[in-house]
């Protein structure tokens, strides 16, 4: 049986999809039985959604492209 520590590492590394099928199956079974690891998995998903949302806060005004082009094509 895979340990909580290994499940936590696999979940946080985001490389579970590239692992062998039996490891993925072990993790799924573990998550079905372990509330604490399921909580971690849920939090990592929420963290991803939260991170995608802050993208909007990093936007700039509409004039960026114009300003870049002006400077780029300045003789």
């Amino acid at each position: 049986m895979i340990s909580c520590k290994n499940v936590a590492r696999l979940l946080a590394s985001d490389q579970l999809q590239s692992e062998d099928w039996w490891i993925r199956l072990e993790v799924r079974l573990h998550l079905a039985m372990c509330g604490l690891c399921s909580r971690l998995a849920r939090q990592l998903k929420q963290l991803r959604a939260g991170a995608r949302n802050i993208r909007e806060q990093n936007e700039t005004d509409e004039g960026l492209e114009k300003r870049v082009l002006e400077r780029l094509t300045r003789p």
């Binding site: 340990s3 909580c4 520590k5 290994n6 936590a8 590492r9 946080a12 590394s13 985001d14 490389q15 604490l36 690891c37 909580r39 971690l40 939090q43 990592l44 929420q46 963290l47 991803r48 939260g50 991170a51 995608r52 949302n53 802050i54 993208r55 806060q57 990093n58 936007e59 700039t60 960026l64 492209e65 300003r67 870049v68 082009l69 400077r71 780029l72 094509t73």
Partner: protein, 196 residues
């Protein structure tokens, strides 16, 4: 974010002849994602725009040596990554010590079971300030972890593209990304406790 599209020979030839429409297309497609990433990497608004200007200036100078083997977006982000590193060195930003492995070890007992389980953070994840908390926690990450996290999770680039941009192997990226996410979760847990 849309997948990076390989550059065609025809478009590369138009760029090399400095055709205004072709240059305009590149700026239109890439200036904004570069700016957002620069902001995500910790640069204030004017500095982020200056960085984007700098990236495109270098792009124009090096255009003739670009062989078109990598995708344009990967190349531009790669230029930006090197410029970010130069600026961090110039401003002598010291990288924070990375003690996350010790923190993670302390969460498990010898048989690999939770000794200090993850706290319930539902309240925090539902709060309006979540974005602000995540932003604050990203700022506390070591630079290389921050770069990996922002490009993957905030900008949504694919792992293989980020490996080329940061010039790291897939294994190294996995370690950086794992540490970043683990560290952010720890940071949010601290903030979550303070919100109880």
């Amino acid at each position: 974010m849309t997948p990076a599209i390989p550059i065609s020979d025809d478009f590369l030839a138009r760029l090399r002849s400095r055709e205004p429409e072709a240059l305009s297309e590149v700026v239109r497609d890439h200036a904004r994602p570069l700016y957002r990433a620069a902001r995500g990497l910790g640069f204030a608004e004017p500095e982020a725009e200056d960085l984007v200007q700098d990236v495109f200036a270098t792009f124009l100078v090096r255009l003739d040596s670009f062989e078109g083997r990598s995708q344009l977006r990967t190349w531009l982000f790669g230029i930006m990554h090197r410029k970010v590193q130069e600026r961090r060195r110039a401003s002598a930003v010291e990288d924070r010590a990375d003690a996350i492995e010790d923190v993670l070890e302390s969460r498990f007992n010898l048989s690999g079971k939770w000794a200090r389980p993850p706290a319930d953070l539902e309240k925090l994840f539902l709060s309006k300030e979540l974005g602000q908390f995540i932003r604050g926690c990203i700022e506390s990450l070591p630079a290389n972890q921050r770069d990996a996290f922002v490009l993957r999770e905030v900008e949504g680039l694919e792992t293989n593209e980020i490996c080329k941009i940061l010039n790291v192997s897939a294994t190294n990226f996995g370690v950086l990304f794992y540490r970043a996410r683990a560290q952010l979760r720890e940071c949010l847990e601290l903030k979550g406790w303070s919100k109880q």
